[in-house]
């Protein structure tokens, strides 16, 4: 009967968010609801996201899916929604508030920690590594960076993280930045790129500098990254389940709107994949182009 | 008589130019001291040194016998020195009153401005000058004549004991000049000293007490205005005799019509203007400021829109909606306001001179023929005696008169059939004026047609084969040129208001 769910995400131009959207549309299809999907240009635009949430509320949706750039900032609007009886489902990363009925998210810290383990394996537990992160202040940016750094600090005393640089997920900026890092640290053993744009930037930078013996661990997927892994330029990457996130979010939102009961923690999981496992159906299902 | 200003041995150099070498000037209380010299002689520079805008390289300035070196307009004002600059320096987005009182606004508490009081004071000032102007009008919307009057009002409002006027009348017409002279005489009476720069020789006799002549930045001499014949002063300025032979009006009845204008109309500014212009003819446009001469010229040239009217070039009805069309049709227009409409002042002499002619200096591939440009420019620079260190000097660094010469030059270079000159000799010295008159006569001798707009009646009468007189946007009459027409005839038509309109139309 024309139920409509509004999703306010952290972005929409990047492949990851496109994948989330496709998952959401899949669910909408199945459950016969209409959805809208919006997100700001980058993950610093906290207030832009608030305005989007406000506009979404104006349309009186049956439910709202919300990937908070900053939970605190959104609380007043979430309260308005709550009072208006509009159920809210958090996705991608949690909202520290009791208003959202459920959270469909990846545990970024754990995922980045896994990346650290793999990195350590490849470089034999000692050496120098660097991190090319996509954002210095956004929640995902911080969690992935710290997840990686803390794991290294905790378990691999012989590995030194020489620098963390931020390329805003812009392939070109990340490329230049990687090249500068390599110039400054000729003896670098590995680099971790914390999202698709950063990871591809690292691959470009490394190949332009003509370094072979360097371990690159990426994050998320996308055609370029998958190619890099197949060709061996990239050792492997962490993937979340963006399609799953979108799907579960809409599903939960609709059920909530229809007054059905839903579980509050939906861990959509993450996997490490490399040239060998990339075509394994379980993995292939969560990768996007 | 006590001297209030003494400038001795002043030197001032600019990159590539020694503007002043050992220049000197002496001003007494209650005197009007004329400062004369060719374009680029250094008059404005000397005055800018006096008013603290340029720092002199050498020499001494004594104000009321005390050696001073004013730095910046502020200190000059403190010393009682006021100056009206040759180039208008007004804030176009501010009102007349706001311009006049900038920096001296009547204030209320907390830095609030008392606009009412300011406008009142401005109104009084204007009244004293017989100037009919709304103090609240935006200066940018005024003609340069009105803007010039505002500059004068501003300078007067300081009531400085030493007042410098650098070509104040260049943009003014006779009526306004008369008003200005009344004011100057009042100042004299109050014992103020006035340094007066002008290229209009007739003004010397009318107000100047003494005249100091400069040439090439050097002091030539100081003479009594009344005793000394103008010819001698000119000789001292130019270093040679300038003699102009009387005008001979040729019989043009046989010549084909080059331009015919029928019923041009736009609002109140242009009302049913019709006239024709024959090849080889100089048609003078006379009228008071605001008569609409410039408006008509701009309209013919396609610079401003028209509501009605027809323009025939060489007998062909021609649709002119932009200057581009006009120039294609062989019409050239020299604008009256060089800074706003005439020059790209950040570009060099050559670039400006060839601006209307570029295609002539361009290969089929769009590449400029630099050598040809330089040659053509150098020729024009010599022809018009433009004083510039190089044809690649930026125009803004030239003296006012030399800038004006470039505007003339760029149209002379463009070989049009019909030239419209709007105040072509504004700020140009007598020597050069004679040159330009000759050039205009050469043009007509070569069968070109010329419309000559000038607020200097003598100039109009000196050149025109016929004189078209305008008033309030209407053509009030067309008089024959030469001896039989007197200034009075022109003025009667120029002041012929609405009432006696009908007989004006059929005089042609």
């Amino acid at each position: 009967e024309g139920e409509y769910v509004a999703l306010v995400s952290k972005g929409f131009q990047h492949q990851f968010w496109q994948a989330v959207q496709s998952g959401a549309e899949m669910a909408a299809e199945e459950l016969g609801v209409k959805i809208t999907f919006e997100g700001p240009d980058n993950e610093t635009m906290v207030d832009k996201q608030i305005d989007m949430l406000a506009a979404a509320l104006a349309n009186k949706p049956a439910a709202i899916g919300f990937a908070a750039l900053d939970s605190q900032a959104a609380i007043p609007l979430l309260r308005d929604a709550d009072e208006a009886g509009i159920p809210i489902v958090a996705f991608d990363s949690g909202v520290d508030s009791d208003i959202p009925l459920a959270t469909a998210a990846t545990n970024n810290v754990a995922a980045a920690a896994l990346a650290a383990e793999k990195m350590a394996e490849f470089i034999g537990g000692k050496g120098k590594v660097a991190v090319v992160a996509h954002d210095q202040t956004s929640r995902t940016g911080i969690e992935r960076r710290d997840g990686f750094l803390d794991k290294i600090k905790a378990d691999y005393p012989d590995i030194e993280v020489v620098t963390v640089q931020y390329g805003a997920g812009d392939q070109l900026k990340s490329t230049e930045l990687t090249k500068a890092i390599l110039t400054a640290n000729p003896d670098l053993n590995g680099i971790f790129g914390t999202n698709e744009g950063s990871a591809i930037g690292v691959v470009n930078g490394v190949s332009e500098m003509g370094k072979e013996d360097l371990v690159i661990i990426g994050y998320d997927s996308g055609k370029a990254q998958k190619d890099a892994i197949r060709s061996g330029l990239m050792a492997g990457a962490i993937t979340q389940n963006p399609v799953g996130i979108g799907y579960e979010t809409v599903k939960a939102a609709v059920m909530a709107a229809r007054g059905e009961k839903i579980e509050s923690e939906i861990d959509t999981g993450f996997y490490y994949y490399d040239a060998d496992t990339i075509d394994d159906p379980k993995i292939a299902a969560v990768l996007y182009d | 008589m006590d001297k209030i200003v003494e400038m001795i041995g002043i030197d001032k150099g600019f990159p590539g130019v020694q503007a002043l070498k050992d220049a000197q000037l002496e001003l007494r209380k209650g005197e009007v001291h004329a400062l004369m010299g060719e374009n680029g002689a250094g008059k404005s520079t000397l005055m800018k040194v006096l008013s603290g805008i340029y720092k002199k390289d050498a020499g001494e300035i004594l104000i009321r016998g005390k050696s001073e070196e004013p730095v910046g307009p502020r200190e000059a004002q403190a010393l009682g020195i006021g100056i009206i600059h040759q180039e208008l320096s007004l804030m176009n987005d501010l009102s007349a009153a706001q311009n006049i009182f900038i920096g001296r606004e009547p204030r209320r508490s907390l830095g609030r401005i008392d606009d009412a009081a300011m406008n009142r004071q401005a109104a009084e000032l204007f009244a004293a000058m017989h100037l009919d102007l709304d103090p609240a009008v935006l200066v940018g919307d005024l003609t340069i004549a009105k803007q010039q009057m505002i500059e004068i009002a501003k300078a007067l409002s300081f009531d400085s004991e030493i007042l410098v006027m650098d070509e104040p009348t260049a943009a003014l017409n006779d009526a306004e000049i008369a008003d200005l002279f009344v004011i100057i005489n009042e100042l004299k009476a109050k014992g103020h000293g006035i340094i007066y720069i002008s290229h209009k020789m007739d003004e010397l006799k009318r107000i100047a007490d003494r005249v100091t002549i400069m040439r090439d930045g050097q002091y030539v001499g100081t003479v009594e205005a009344k005793e000394t014949p103008v010819a001698k002063i000119i000789a001292m300025m130019v270093g040679r005799e300038v003699n102009h032979e009387p005008l001979v009006v040729p019989d043009l009845s046989e010549f084909p019509v080059a331009l015919e204008v029928r019923g041009l109309t736009r609002g109140k500014e242009i009302r049913d203007v019709s006239f024709d212009l024959r090849k080889g003819e100089v048609l003078g446009f006379a009228g008071l400021m605001g008569a609409g001469r410039t408006e008509v010229a701009r309209a013919i040239f396609g610079a401003d829109p028209l509501e009605a009217g027809e323009i025939l070039v060489a007998g062909e009805t021609t649709r002119i909606t932009s200057p581009y069309d006009a120039v294609k049709a062989g019409i050239g227009y020299l604008s009256e306001d060089r800074k706003r409409y005439g020059l790209a002042v950040t570009m060099d002499v050559a670039a400006n001179t060839v601006m209307p002619n570029l295609e002539r200096f361009t290969s089929s591939t769009g590449v400029l023929n630099e050598p040809a440009i330089d040659v053509a420019t150098s020729d024009m620079v010599d022809k018009l005696k433009i004083r510039t260190p190089s044809i690649h000097q930026e125009v803004r660094l030239l003296s006012g008169g030399n800038q004006q010469k470039i505007v003339v030059g760029k149209w002379l270079l463009r070989d049009c059939d019909i030239f419209i000159f709007d105040e072509p000799t504004r700020g140009i010295d007598v020597g050069a004026k004679a040159e330009i008159y000759k050039l205009i006569e050469d043009l007509t001798a070569r069968g070109k047609a010329v419309i000559m707009i000038s607020s200097e009646l003598p100039e109009v009468m000196r050149l025109s084969h016929r004189i078209l007189v305008m008033c309030e946007g209407r053509v009030t009459g067309i008089l024959p040129g030469g001896e039989e027409t007197s200034q009075e005839d022109i003025m009667t038509l120029a002041t012929q208001r609405e009432t006696t309109q009908q007989n004006a139309g059929n005089m042609q």
């Binding site: 919006e38 207030d47 349309n59 900053d70 900032a73 | 176009n92």
Partner: protein, 333 residues
């Protein structure tokens, strides 16, 4: 006479808001009205009290920024640093209130003061060191962006310990007076800032020199005015207005987001130019800027409420901006 005069120029109070271009402003206003009508027809949800308030709320921060930069633009300058300056001020308030636990008013003043100080720096670079405004403020933009991250430790600073703070923009004094009209204080502040600045522009020496400098700086100098000092004063004043914007956004987000701010300068400047202020300087009005800012936020909100696909929203915004200004132009002729 004065009366007739006032309306013509920046005098007379309401006229002050409107200034010389009464006529023109009215036209930009027309574009705004047309947008409102268009969207109301486009979506039934658009014309709701709650959404209108959301639009005003969304305008408040950008609006205040735009008012600040209007001053700079009228002087013939430009300020690229306003976005990050706003953030910097928010961070400073955060430091005072949350890190140092000082009382609310001091924190607010600190934020505004920080803005004034930044403005003073830019002003000095431009007026005294003769650095082109574009470069000077580009430099400030980067410096302040960096400093915000350094000072905040690249972490948002939350104001939970200062409950009153979020009321600054979220609370609604108006509702207490007129129940059922929950216009947030942020909007109230926007209009107060607008009226105050319009007053300064039209009635005070500072305002007069703002226009004069933009119109012909050389002439101002030749008139013996200490142009440099006044220019610095104007930049400082504009900076303090950015400070207000900083406090507003911090209170709206109940946190100082150190990475936010970049890109706001463009939005603000766009609002100013759409409002009919010329980048050449000398002309401009606060009312115009307000309308410009409203046009922008009505546009974004309207397209969202009509659930236009986001990529098409961008296209439409661009096209409508051009059309709106063009309509203005041609109407003016």
């Amino acid at each position: 006479m004065t009366a007739s005069v006032d309306v013509k120029k920046e005098g007379g109070f309401l006229a002050g808001l409107i200034k010389s271009g009464a006529h023109q402003k009215l036209l930009a206003f027309a574009s705004l009205i047309m947008l409102l009508i268009g969207f109301s027809l486009g979506s039934p949800n658009f014309m709701q009290m709650s959404n209108m308030i959301a639009i005003l709320q969304a305008t408040s921060v950008i609006g205040v920024l735009a008012i600040g930069v209007t001053l700079i633009i009228i002087t013939g300058g430009i300020d690229l640093s306003i976005g990050t300056m706003m953030t910097f001020c928010a961070v400073i308030s955060g430091v005072f209130l949350t890190y140092w636990g000082l009382p609310l008013p001091i924190g607010v003043l600190a934020g505004i003061g920080a803005g004034a100080f930044c403005g003073f720096c830019s002003g000095t670079f431009v007026a005294k060191m003769k650095i082109p405004p574009f470069i000077a403020t580009l430099g400030m933009m980067l410096i302040l962006k960096g400093l915000s991250l350094v000072i905040s430790g690249t972490r948002p600073i939350y104001f939970n310990d200062t409950p009153g703070f979020s009321e600054i923009s979220r609370g609604s004094l108006i509702e207490n007076i007129i129940p059922g009209l929950p216009i947030p204080n942020g909007v109230l502040i926007l209009f107060l800032v607008a009226i105050g600045t319009a007053y300064v522009l039209s009635k005070t020496v500072l305002g007069r020199y703002t226009y004069a400098l933009g119109s012909n700086e050389e002439a101002v100098r030749l008139s013996g005015v200490n142009a440099d000092r006044w220019k610095i004063a104007i930049y400082t004043f504009a900076g303090s207005i950015c400070g207000v914007a900083g406090v507003l956004i911090a209170s709206r987000l109940n946190s100082a987001q150190p990475a936010l701010g970049l890109g706001y300068e463009l939005e603000a400047i766009a609002a100013v130019v759409i409002g009919g202020t010329s980048l050449a300087g000398g002309r401009g009005t606060i009312l115009g800027t307000l309308i410009g800012a409203l046009i922008m936020s009505v546009l974004t909100n309207g397209l969202r409420v009509m659930s236009v696909a986001q990529e098409w929203q961008t296209v439409a915004t661009g096209a409508i901006i051009i059309l709106a200004v063009y309509a203005d132009m041609s109407r003016k002729k």
